[in-house]
Symmetry: none
Subunit: 222 residues, 4 copies
């Protein structure tokens, strides 16, 4: 069963479309998608051309339009595809955590792991999710929300477990977590990338949980 299949549901209505979910044809759809992300990562969306993508994918320019409505649609399909794929993995990782803190650690670790593994995806994600203008693109916006929902659940669980403070503005907590992970990835992407991104997970979780501040002994005496 091909992971890309679900995408067809999006566009089927709008266009002639090569259905044949399990055939070889489908490889082409995949290949174009991966090629596009590679090119986007290298040059940025607007500086990438259909020709470059076609070349990278080893197909003719026109072939791309059999699978994608237009250039934008390539990005959209990429996001909806990767989002589903990656989030399934995120959820899986979270479920394996015995408690909230471990769930958070697993989430962040998986997040870093996936982005380290697929650098092209990482670049496109970082770039496009900060493209305020294009953010109107429904898929992208939805993705952010999904991530934050996962975080919400974890935090709430932690509060019930007593490991996370109750007096927290949840919206802010989510931004702190997503923001810092994003920035860790961003820094890595801009660096020479000769360090292991995943190793940042534990210290980062520690920092998020414990904060920068010293534990005040005075707390106790009060």
């Amino acid at each position: 069963m091909n992971e890309y299949s679900f995408i067809f549901q999006i566009n089927r209505a709008t266009r002639r479309f090569p259905i044949r979910i399990k055939g070889k044809t489908n490889d082409k759809h995949h290949r174009i998608l991966e090629a596009a992300v590679k090119v986007f990562a290298e040059k940025g969306f607007f500086q990438s051309t259909i020709s470059q993508i076609a070349k990278e994918a080893g197909v003719a320019d026109g072939t791309i339009y059999l699978y994608f409505k237009n250039k934008d649609d390539i990005l959209t399909q990429f996001f909806s595809y990767k989002t589903k794929l990656v989030f399934d993995r995120f959820k899986e990782a979270v479920e394996e955590g015995p408690n909230a803190i471990e769930k958070l650690r697993n989430l962040i670790r998986k997040h870093l792991e996936e982005f380290q593994r697929d650098r092209n995806m990482a670049v496109v994600y970082q770039t496009e999710t900060h493209q305020i203008t294009r953010m109107a693109e429904y898929q992208i916006k939805k993705m952010s929300k999904k991530y934050l929902d996962i975080v919400s659940e974890i935090v709430e669980q932690g509060q019930q477990e007593g490991s996370i403070r109750r007096s927290l503005y949840l919206g802010l907590v989510k931004r702190l977590i997503l923001g810092s992970v994003d920035e860790v990835i961003n820094t890595w992407l801009h660096s020479k990338k000769n360090y292991d991104l995943i190793s940042m997970a534990d210290p980062l979780v520690e920092l998020i949980i414990e904060g920068l501040g010293k534990k005040r002994e005075t707390d106790h005496s009060s």
Copy 2:
């Protein structure tokens, strides 16, 4: 006295240039810059055209090339100008803080304040600083670094003052802070913007300092 004046020092050498720092002429440089940022914020850099910018600025297309080498140069000049301007204000705000925690609070508050005040700038900053591909652009990269340097100083001071833990990976701390502030701004930019961004400063600082976790009583017995 016009805040844009200093930019002239950048290009004076390269091009015939309408200097006359305090005259009316100079307004045009300013006007184009503001117009450009407005258009960039609305459409994104690549989807903005010189014609749109010229129209927004109320000048002819060709006039833009009297002040800017090319389209890219508009963005570059904007960054070098705003960076200097904003960072001066950041530093000023930081200096007014009596201790590290207050300095951090002042920095974040000022950061949110400046970005709330000038939404166009905020959008362009958020977008362009995450543009991995174009990041090669020197000015932009430098800006991030400057911010992180300020944060470093504050954290180190806090460590000496005893308000911030010593056992911290400084690089990570910086990313936590910049990342969470960025994400707070980003969320605001994507929202309806009917809440006050600055009011997020105090809770955010609290969160950064205290962390998510409950103070562990067990700490004491150790």
Copy 3:
């Protein structure tokens, strides 16, 4: 079989290219080339626009860039194509001459014939080969040289045969011949063109060989 075919060998490496040597597609390359030369002849290179050429060739503007790297390349390809074509004919004509004088006559006659037949080419040649500034363009420079080489050979043969004086500065002889033929063509191009250019060949050869001067009887007594 199409005479333009060989040009493909020049650019094949540099660009995606519609090969299919004997197909209909190829006509387009030819058509653009002829259209361009016509427009260049009418307006001059710099005052010709891609749009005019495209219109003359009956193709879209963009189509031109499928066959030519840029505007300059049209001229370059034209020269390398015509040079080869015309010089083959020159050499052929020269070879048919039984002796040096006849070879020279054949060369000049063929030269005038070819230029009379294709007036657009003649105009572009006359114009561009005298464009000192642009002459750096390799192809054009080389062409002049080739012509002079042919002349050299003829003159040397004539010297061996005894029909041409030995005490001649060869470089100057070449310039005399090329210059006078050029000027004959030039004059024709500027005239109403209602006379036959080829008919100038015999008198011109006579003039070149015999010179303006009267045979001096005193020669004999010396």
Copy 4:
């Protein structure tokens, strides 16, 4: 008395014009003309800009339009100015020759001398007089004619003197002479220019008069 004065008669009717024949103002007219020719020689007419000329002349762009109707007019004025100047010298040189052959020699020598002395002029002349398209420009066409008239006179005189054959097609003779001199200059312009152009005069005259052919001894016996 300034050599440029006569030009004013051409444009006086068409435009506001800085008359003041003997004043300093006139220097500016001269300076612009010389600057323009220098720039034209370096880059070619169409690739030269008014700004470059202005800069070279040390005046403002706008100033040029006080003296010249438009860019074309600069070239036109240059030609009418130089033509007069140079032809006066040609005629003078010709007059000094005691007989036709010497007159021709003087003409060619002076021709080479003038063009060697003012290389910029030489380049512009060679380029523009072969610009078939632009040749419509009245001044340029007239110039060629004047040259040929001088040659005609000389040749006719030579025929009367008995030094030049009578059975000559005069039109062709003129082209032979002008063409070969042109080509000698052209070659020099394209070369490294480290040889003396004037030294070509005598051998060239010899060649033109005597021709390439051996004096046939048989002539005599017939």
